[in-house]
Symmetry: C3
Subunit: 355 residues, 3 copies
């Protein structure tokens, strides 16, 4: 049912070739894995992103390291990389065991509607449910217990991890990864109050997710009232994020864990929201807006602006305010002292007038 | 297994009758759907909640619109409504495709205890689990993989979406909707520290949920130590909300996404909590208290008060404080300047005394 | 399939023996349950943690109470306890109905890989999935739909409630409780930007969870890039908490609901994080650090320090700042008044100079 391949060893020269880096040291050095400096073993390669941490490399037990071009000499066999982060990702990819996945085809314990359309090489795990009219693109993996609602369209090379729920009539692009327990297309949270009771507003719309999107475990993207809630291409959403009905998340934006975006908010491209950030309903954030963790944005933000705070304000203003706030208790004391001095001056002035 | 009906077209006159509104324009105009102004097509009806947005209606491609009585003239065929929001909900309901649902009866792949009691017209989806002694009221829908624990009582006309978990001995009223992955009745989070270790406090109680409650995807309502955690009638809870053990949420309250209510807190009726709000354990919020998004309430709040901030304070005080905070850096500069001026006055006074 | 035992009645003398307390009143008084003072019935025992609440005990309908030694006289039959909280936990444990659980062995509707290794007395519920090479220790309970990935090791006497997901190659100690929908070992949230696109960084590592850990409903613990994300022994994690890749949570720490700990943060032992707290990536919190609810910690914190605020600062400083902030609008007015008075003094000084 599942298979896990073992990790592969390589020579340092082979790894240098893999990352298009410059070899420094014995090309035939055998590397069997990758680890951070603090825990690396002699047979493993590690990495150093900044030259100033060179002593950590020297003191480590690592057999070799990926190093930046700025590092003149390395205390260990090394590969000099134009972009250490990129090289590291390639090395991690090399040593990564292949991901377990259900066998191609439909598991005997899955439930797939007769009129569902499955592309070539699709794998459907046990207890998965594919409802009527759903389409699953080629090579996509639907893990154990994942639920694909009626008339959904899932693209190619996607993976829906265990117990992902995609409700009816949602559309998902190619190469989309959705982690366990994420919920796509639940009803938007909308009511109107009439005679003391909240009445539910029907949500006819759906969710449309672009290519190369990743959505974290337990995250929720609600369906829209009409039209679609939209997650554009390349967006990355972390665990436990809430995206409300009718929201638009612009391409290549990144939403860290536990972010909440309220109804009908519109985010531009390459927006970056730190963990726990809240975005008010019906506001617009321009392209490349960045919001610091735990902030709450109550109004429109122009493109490129960095925000922080509760409520969020422009980042340098936020820093100034909080530096002042740190000094506020002292300020209160200063003001009190100043009042006393002014009173003395006033008394003296009165006296001199009297005099 | 699942079925989705197509949406139905109607004449503008029929829709006017449906919402009890006043027809303005050709009654035989054919309407095939509903959409927001920005995306509406000629065959669709849209809506306008405020007269001042009339230019958007004029510029839209919508075939017709729901408009408020305050709008003297409409640039499009229209239905004049006493309450546009209510009319819109009715129109959305008319055009909403019927929700897919499992067939009535018990799916062959569900597991239902022999002594569970199911009302008329109940539908149990594949891989659902109904434990011993559970009761499911008439016409309730238990979707794929939903779990109903031992001795639970679920009312009539409820829907538990896929993978909802309701643990043993919880009670749920009529017409309750619970979205995917919500967890009702997990253990309360309570320990006592003894000899350096946290020991678990048993939670004997349950959860009691009233009629017409809605609970969002991934939300959690923990069971109580003794007695019940209580969600009263008509409460609406959004996605990823946490309601801790022994909490009481008063009738018709609304908790937006990612709210957290700590143990034994008591909320009155018609309380409104914005997204990401935190409520401290063991405090009481009166009826109709409102708390702005991302605020944290550390103490009791009287009925009807609006709160905001971290820690939350009364709303107008919060606005004053934050207006002042915006000016604080400038204030520091002013105070420094004032100190200098007072020093000069003091020096001058000294000189004049000397003189 | 499931069984629930009835609760057992006991005499007051038997309960006094159970909690090693001092009996005050009729030893043969029959007690059938336990309840909080506000709802206790005559046949039930209640508890009083502080002597000053004695009037609530007197006014209650409780048949008896656990009381602290500081209470000289009790208005009801009582058991005097050295530690009421501990005694209460024992009493709750006595009256707790036994938890329903799947029958020992493998449910016919579960899917267990042929090479999975199950200890004595293991119970696997319906629709559970145990992948290839997984090991489950003696007496552990894998509830309905819980998913144990390839090559995972689960210790003895654990319980994975319905739909818990543990992805491949994670390790879990003994007596670990994981509540419904928690996700252990999803991919860490890491990308590098190259040519305008976010590229996924492979996460080769796993998650290592110590003994006696409890993890709440819907909580997420991501797998590490290399090595392990580590939850040490005795840690208690509440619902909807996010623990990112490569984090270390020190032994016996407590994370309340909706906390988020960002990548590679390191928490010491006995750390206490209130609800909704955010911890920045790559920072270190010393042993016994405490952070107030809804705070956001942006930098290292020394052992034993209490923090609060956004951004968090030392707790007494936070209190001072917020007391000052409360007074800030008034301060602005005072400063304005003082400027006016200094201007008068300056004018007078000018006049006297002129004179």
């Amino acid at each position: 049912m599942m298979s896990t391949s073992v990790s592969r060893s390589a020579s340092l020269a082979e790894l240098a070739g893999l990352v298009d880096g410059e070899l420094r040291g014995p090309g035939d050095l055998r590397i069997t894995g990758v680890a951070a400096l603090a825990s690396a073993e002699p047979g493993q390669i590690s990495w150093l992103t900044e030259a100033r941490f060179i002593s950590r490399l020297a003191q480590s037990r690592a057999g070799a390291a990926l190093i930046p071009a700025s590092l003149a000499d390395s205390p260990k066999p090394a590969i000099v990389c134009a972009d250490v982060e990129h090289a590291l990702a390639l090395i991690l990819g090399h040593f990564a065991p292949s991901l377990p996945q259900p066998a191609q085809g439909i598991d005997a314990r899955a439930q797939v509607a007769p009129d569902a359309v499955l592309g070539d090489g699709v794998a459907i795990g046990p207890f998965a449910v594919i409802e009527s009219g759903a389409q699953i693109g080629a090579r996509s993996i639907i893990d154990a217990g994942a639920y694909v609602g009626a008339e959904c369209r899932i693209g190619e090379d996607c993976r829906l991890w265990p117990y992902v729920v995609v409700r009816e009539r949602c559309t998902i692009g190619d190469r989309v990864l959705i982690h366990p327990h994420a919920v796509i297309g639940a009803d938007g949270f909308g009511y109107y109050l009439r005679a003391g009771r909240h009445h539910k507003i029907p949500h006819l719309g759906g969710v449309m997710i672009g290519d190369d999107v990743e959505i974290g475990a337990g995250a929720c993207v609600d369906r829209s009232k009409t039209g679609n809630t939209v997650i554009e291409t390349g967006v990355k959403i972390d665990n436990l994020v809430q995206v409300a009905h009718n929201v638009v998340i612009g391409a290549h934006s990144v939403l860290c864990a536990q972010v909440g975006v309220a109804g009908s908010a519109r985010l531009g491209k390459y927006v970056l929201l730190g963990g726990h950030v809240g975005i008010r309903d019906n506001i617009a954030l321009g392209d490349r807006v960045q919001v610091a963790a735990c902030s709450c944005v109550p109004q429109d933000v122009d493109a490129g602006v960095k925000m922080a705070g509760l409520p969020a304000t422009e980042f340098r203003q936020y820093l100034r305010e909080h530096a002042s706030l740190r000094k506020l208790p002292e300020l209160v004391a200063q003001l009190r002292e100043l009042v006393r001095r002014v009173e003395e001056l006033e008394a003296a002035a009165d006296n001199s007038q009297d005099g």
